[in-house]
Amino acid sequence: MINPPASFRWTRRIVLGALAVFALVPVLVMLSSSLKPLRDVQGPFRWIPSTVTLRPYLDIWRTVPLGRYLVNSLIVAGGATVCSVLVAILAAYAVSRYRFRGRRFFTVTVLSTQMFPGILFLLPLFLIFVNVGNATGVALYGSRGGLILTYLTFSLPFSIWMLVGYFDSIPRDLDEAALVDGCGPLQALVRIIVPAAVPGIVAVAVYAFMTAWGEVLFASVLTDDETRTLAVGLQGYATLNDVYWNQVMAASLVVSVPVVAGFLLLQRYLVAGLTAGAVK
């Protein structure tokens, strides 16, 4: 906009201010409540703690095995991210650089899996995992591997879609020159396309990690005591008699810090990836 008038600037201040408050309030609640002793969070709400204590941050690790959940979540989300990015790069390269029979069918099929409600294939998947385990001895149900396998397909359609857009925006001359110089197609992919598409790939990785880190439904059905992730583990602070709200808030903050930090650091790439891929 060129020289916006005062009415525009005031609207901007008011609307953006209100939205900032809306976005931020839960985080402030998390922070202030995580510093209160239990009796404070059991009474009427106060913005500022009357007593500030770090006890909740020490207790969270003992009330539930938070460390184990954290490790499980890291393994599962990290594994799903790495696999999903690799698989998506290969598929997006094929869709972006080759015209082949079934190309459209593939994109439509993969994209349409995005729209299936998770609840639709949760129970069948559970039963398939159990059956495969019984038949082959490969434990998928209750294992981190089973969850990684499941999660990597959740981010796959969107990742492929975004990467195709990103690869399309890389001039063909670049990889064609490599092919002329005697590179194989896979070498062209690794040496030319992947380095040129780093922002898109980072965006896809962030998306895949966040999808896996935040998933609740499948984590609650497909894991057991040993492989529980944070998504399910956080419910452990509610006992029959009491909810340790200060510990819930402390734990929420602790599990949020890694993803939020990563996301804010890499959001530039996410916007760039969206511009090139999803927005087209």
């Binding site: 906009m1 060129i2 020289n3 525009f8 609207t11 901007r12 609307v15 953006l16 939205l19 900032a20 976005a23 931020l24 309030v25 839960p26 609640v29 998390m30 009427p44 709400f45 698989v87 998506a88 290969l90 598929a91 094929a94 082949f100 593939f106 993969v110 349409s112 995005q114 729209m115 299936f116 409600p117 998770g118 609840i119 639709l120 294939f121 129970l123 069948p124 998947l125 039963l127 398939i128 397909t153 359609p157 063909r172 064609e176 935040g214 944070l230 998504a231 956080l234 819930v248 929420s252 903050l253 599990v255 949020s256 993803v259 939020v260 996301f263 804010l264 916007v271 511009t275 927005v279």
Partner: protein, 309 residues
Amino acid sequence: MIRTRLARLRPPRTALPYLLLLPALLLELAVHLLPMVVGAVMSLKRLTQFFIRDWSAAPWAGLANYRTAVDFHAPVGRALLHSFWVTCAFTVLAVGLSWLIGTAAAVLTQDSFRGRGLLRALFLLPYALPVYAAVITWSFMFQRDTGLINHVLHDQLHLVDDKPFWLIGDNSFTALVTVSVWRSWPFAFLTLTAGLQNIPRELYEAAALDGAGTWQQIRRITLPSLRPVNLVLVLVLFLWTFNDFNTPYVLFGRSAPEAADLVSVHIYQSSFVTWNFGAGSAMSVLLLLFLLLVTSGYLLLTSRRKDAA
């Protein structure tokens, strides 16, 4: 030129694109399509907890599960229909509000001003936070006696006389919509911001020269050029919101209050809490058919409009 080069690329390695797609295809088949087929078969079976070990041994039920699901005079069907309407109302409200807020935020942050970078980062917070951590915080805020919402409404602003319950009864719908909008508007904001970056600055300069004011520029240039982004965005928001399980599940637990009984939780409840897997599968299949119908209708309508334009 590019065409002929491509033609040269293709012939010797026709198998390569398929090999590259194979991993993605196999994974999608194994985790999405195969379970869906199994689910469709299960919906035709009389499947109770006794057959979990070997579900293929369960007796065939024909269409009995479907008849139960759509018999709107009986309790099961009536509850399903109710939860379907709740989900529709919830989706329309949550998507509409998220889209509206996302648009406002994207348009108002289009130009640079002091603090824009910080604001953007703040706006993305709800999207970045893991859903369970964020929603659990909202459920704390909605607690009747110890929560922030009632503290502000009752103690600070004196808007209500009696502290209302938010997580049970009719208010639970409001609570659910609020949390859902809070979680999904940043995605709309992010997508629309990306879309706005494609508008050439000269358009605004030309309009300003022609005497168009800021608000007119927004109405005539900014909003129309967002249309292609909006076509995708609204569909994605619709599917995510309609299928959302995480938000109600973390906010209310295994069984949601009647006023906020979304279809996903309803089906989960019918399958895993009352152990009626056959009926749960039938409901899932019906849900998928509905989503297919809406999505293909939407795509047909929007692609036709694009051709006409």
